[in-house]
Amino acid sequence: MSEPVLSVRDLVVEIPTRRGILRPVDGVSYDITKGEILGVVGESGAGKSMTGNAVIGLLDRPARIASGEILLTGEPIHHLKGEALRRLRGRRMGMIFQDPLTSLNPLLTVGDQLTETILEHLPVSRAKALNRAVAALDEVGIPAARQRIGSYPHEFSGGMRQRVVIALALCAEPELVIADEPTTALDVSVQAQIIALLKRLCRERGVAVMLVTHDMGVIAEAADRVAVMYAGRLAELGPVRDVVGRARHPYTTGLMASTPDASRGQRRLRQIPGSMPRLDALPEGCPFHPRCDRAEVRCRQAPGPSLTACDGRAACWFPMHQPEETPA
């Protein structure tokens, strides 16, 4: 296999507070290769967005990367600051935010926002940049792109605006795109279109995509591989087929069972009892054990086995399915 576009190794993000140091991301490792979509899933507060923000270097104070490595095509970038980091953003890694209504500057035309990004990163003339901007809008499926280039964001519908946001994230041709809940704020009918667009762009351009979402349906639809996060830790990592079909971690099973699925017939949805613990009150041992119906003494004493970036493992002492290969 070729070198992964993004490698995250033992990433720890800390927030110092007056009641002690919180760890919204605690020892997370994964890889994303070219043309692959990695779905990162979990409840809100599980640390999925924080992981994405850490990768692109947009952690809000006082959150900071405490340890671990982030490698972009093999080069470490977790220690970069200021100007060096800015050159990477947009150029080599793009980001798509949740709400297309607020992601675009209301006072500048979409053409202005596209060309300023292109001119910032690529050595092209203003005229060329404008052509590229039109092409970018065209590529994400904005009809009559050349006419719409002078429009302001409020003149587009929500779905169209999210297409503009995607065009903006991709217009300087980055190798990695972090999509943070890109469909959550959209109508259900538009969600599928945006997912299909992301998948197409990923295949055509060979971009590596980190798709952060809380929606198992989106994961099943779009992702090649899945990372399940719980309370800042990786619960399970593997190909989408395995995670959806033969989940190993009881939390993943619970997450699947609480997602409506038309194909399985409308059985009653199951809920996971309780709620995710607050970061300042994590239980001893496996953080999931208070909500887990399979928990035993060992789960209360030690956190589950820590995960490497390899597929097919779960951070659980008593996984539901044994991996097919013998564990290392």
Binding site: I56, L58, R86, R87, L88, R89, G90, R91, G94, M95, F97, D99, T102, S103, L104, N105, P106, L107, L108, E116, T117, E120, H121, G150, S151, Y152, H154, E155, V165, L168, A169, A172
Partner: protein
């Protein structure tokens, strides 16, 4: 857009009608105008004649209408104290106030916006913190104390600048200006700083708050995620969005400069309309008070309308009628 402007104009007219009503009520209910105008030696015949002349026996609504009619023509009657037409007194004092307000307004605007942006962008820096602390002292320091302090330092101790009056003025077709003489310019320095400083701190704090608010927006984060330079983010993306709310309040602040001029004019005995107004209050000179109120309202309403029109120039979301041209 047209409908919006018509609505705003209608609102302005409403504001003027209400302040007109307040001014008229002052005439009608505060003291007896007949007594005020005739003084001690009066006969019943004089009283009746004046009552008839002023239309005081006619219905309230008629009187109000008559008052408005007169007010539109700039006729507010005679000052109780000086016995001259109020409009004449106001006209002769207005240039002094307007020149003072213009210089202070410019000072407040340039300084306020500049320092505001600086303290928002460098909000954790030492210089920004110093400016913020000084500005808080500025807000707590009443205008009249600033004036007294400046007089003490620059007039009493150093003797550089005059402590009162307007200096020599040149009359240009009914407009007396202090801009053309050296003593006029010197006399302007301390009052302009006094009046402008307080407004400057207010505008500065406002710009800073709004800009910090904008810098937290998603589109600023997105601009950062796209790798734009800090300078482009601050001045192209953030500043433009900051200006929309800032223009409203700044407009109002500039309007209030004319009102705050009352204090500055008292401290420096500046012969403008503000000093006239404060004397009118002390002597309950109702026609002058009413006329001043109306004049100020017209100015405020005009400023508000201009602010609304500026909105359209900046915010494309308000230009609803289809595609907007370049900007």
């Amino acid at each position: 857009m047209l409908a919006y402007i018509i609505r705003r104009v209608a609102q302005s007219v409403l504001v003027l009608l209400v302040t007109g009503f307040v001014a008229f009520s002052m005439f009608s209910f505060v003291g007896d105008p007949v007594e005020n105008m005739l003084g001690q030696e009066r006969t019943q015949a004089d009283v009746d004649r004046l009552r008839d002349q002023l239309g005081l026996d006619r219905p309230f609504a008629v009187q109000y209408w008559k008052f408005l009619e007169q007010a539109v023509q700039g006729n507010f009657g005679l000052s109780y104290r000086q016995g001259r037409p109020v409009s004449e007194i106001l006209a002769e004092r207005l240039p002094a106030t307007l020149e003072l307000a213009a210089v202070s307004g410019l000072l407040a605007l340039l300084g306020g916006i500049g320092f505001g942006i600086f303290t928002a962008i460098r909000r954790r820096g030492a210089a920004a913190n110093v400016i913020m602390t000084v500005s808080l002292i500025g807000v707590s320091l009443p205008t009249f104390l600033i004036g007294i302090l400046l007089i003490y330092v620059f007039s009493v101790e150093l003797g550089w600048l005059p402590s009162f009056g307007r200096g020599d003025v040149v009359n240009l077709g009914g407009w007396s200006t202090g801009f053309l003489t050296q003593s006029g310019l010197k006399a302007l320095v301390l009052p302009a700083i006094t009046l402008g400083l307080y407004q400057m701190t207010l505008i500065m704090r406002l710009v800073r708050t709004e800009m910090l608010e904008v810098l937290r927006m998603d589109y600023i984060r997105f601009s950062r995620a796209r790798g734009l330079r800090e300078r482009a983010i601050n001045f192209r993306h953030a500043l433009k969005n900051t200006l929309v709310p800032v223009i409203t309040i700044t407009g109002l602040q500039l309007g209030s400069i004319i009102a705050f001029a009352i204090i500055t004019e008292t401290v420096f005995q500046w012969p403008g309309v503000g000093l006239l107004f404060i004397n009118a209050i002390q002597f309950v000179d109702i026609p002058v008070m009413a006329a001043y109120l109306m004049m100020i309202s017209v100015m405020f309403v005009a400023i508000n309308l201009i602010v609304d029109l500026l909105y359209f120039a900046i915010d494309p979301r308000l230009r609803i009628d289809g595609k907007a041209g370049g900007h």
